[in-house]
Symmetry: C2
Subunit: 252 residues, 2 copies
């Protein structure tokens, strides 16, 4: 039996303060829960008989068989998918020295949970192990971010920190996208670097801009003629990450 | 005075059948409405005094000064921004022959309105003038798509059509992304082509797959090792479009 108090707690994991106080977050759906199940400590599983009956191996955790109507009430999704789970938020154990031979993303005030989730998924695809986030970046364990990350949230490590202080102290070259930057394709792109991506509406903040050594632009086409003003931040992140990785693997 | 009937009609533009019957769609916010105002025929403007007082030039159309509370009730956004407008849906006047010297996107069953809006914005950035959509692709004049396109909906032309028939008859080379495709960076990419992007969950449908001559893969990094399963379709669209355009402009 899933007590009323527990039901209420599950729903309240939508709130950052509840996640912070409990150190837990919510993940939903057979695909995502399956991805995270043996990667992160699980505190609770609530799923339909159909879901539980298909599992051959479950971690030791509190399990509740629930019916569709309770699942619907607990779920934050429009179309709940068989199961939801509460996981522990991984401890942030960033060692800045560990980043010195890697490509790392630095997020400066990303606000949209879906964008952050998509960026985490992009990082995962391109083998980027760490994302450092300014303290005003949206919380990565927001349910919308968790869902949009498609399981990448269990693989990519995120650290929230004082971004200007971090960038001031890093030995890595710092790149950032700007509409007045230089053509991405004309730049030397090192294997290890920090790439800063800015807020959806305002871009990179002036304080961070001063710390960026390499301002890059994703050229439009035909160059300089587009009436479009910008690209979505997750789209820009993808193009920049793809180009950093392309340089390492091809001679085209 | 904005009549109750008109208020109800504005709200009902959320529904595809109402948009199709009336040939109109809803756009919101000073930025987006400003972008579209002299691009598409406008049927109605409803905005705050603050918005109207800043306008120096308005098209001839039905104008209503409304207060914040009515704006809030009419708006589909969480945070309404001063104005909403009803525009006429541009007529679809695709001439397939016009595509023969261009890069064109073909969407096969894209379902998420936000993804479609982001793809339209990407097309605009990269100078792609046309997007052809399978008839089961989500409607581009859905308010969520319109908002996500950030004004690009007024510049990029969309056509809904029988996609298999269209692809069967096109003289253009057809590219599509597949997880078992060949490395994007190892392929010759022509200036004029059709690039098919598939449904979020299922990818490109078998019927369309048979018509794709060039299966491409966006390589993960290190190649073949990622535990990520895929990229979001709008992200994949961005990387592929960026690469087609890069080939035309650089020798890196």
């Amino acid at each position: 039996m899933l007590s009323k108090a527990t039901q209420k707690w599950i729903r309240s994991l939508e709130l950052k303060k509840v996640r912070q106080a409990s150190g837990c977050f919510l993940a939903e759906g057979h695909k995502l829960v399956g991805d995270l199940l043996f990667k992160l400590p699980c505190r609770l599983l609530a799923g339909t008989d159909a879901w539980f009956d298909r599992q051959t191996n479950l971690p030791e955790t509190e399990c509740h068989r629930i019916d569709e109507s309770l699942l619907q009430r607990l779920s934050l999704l429009r179309n709940p998918q068989e199961v939801l789970a509460v996981f522990e938020i991984p401890k942030d154990t960033l060692q800045p020295d560990a980043l010195t031979n890697q490509l790392t993303l630095a997020l400066d005030g990303i606000q949209d949970p879906g964008n952050l989730g998509t960026i985490i998924r992009i990082a995962d695809w391109f083998g980027i192990e760490h994302i450092v986030c300014s303290n005003d970046t949206v919380d990565a364990f927001n349910p919308k971010t968790v869902q949009a990350s498609m399981g990448a949230i269990g693989r990519v490590r995120l650290s929230y920190l004082d971004l200007p202080a971090f960038l001031t102290n890093t030995p890595l070259p710092i790149f950032g996208t700007f509409l007045d930057g230089s053509n991405l394709y004309d730049q030397a792109l090192p294997q290890a670097a920090l790439v800063v991506m800015g807020n959806e509406g305002n871009g990179i903040s002036p304080e961070i801009e001063r710390l960026v050594q390499h301002k890059i632009l994703i050229p439009d086409y035909p160059m300089g003629t587009t009436t479009a003003e910008s690209l979505n931040v997750s789209v820009a992140t993808a193009i920049v990450c793809a180009e950093f990785r392309r340089r390492l693997t091809t001679s085209v």
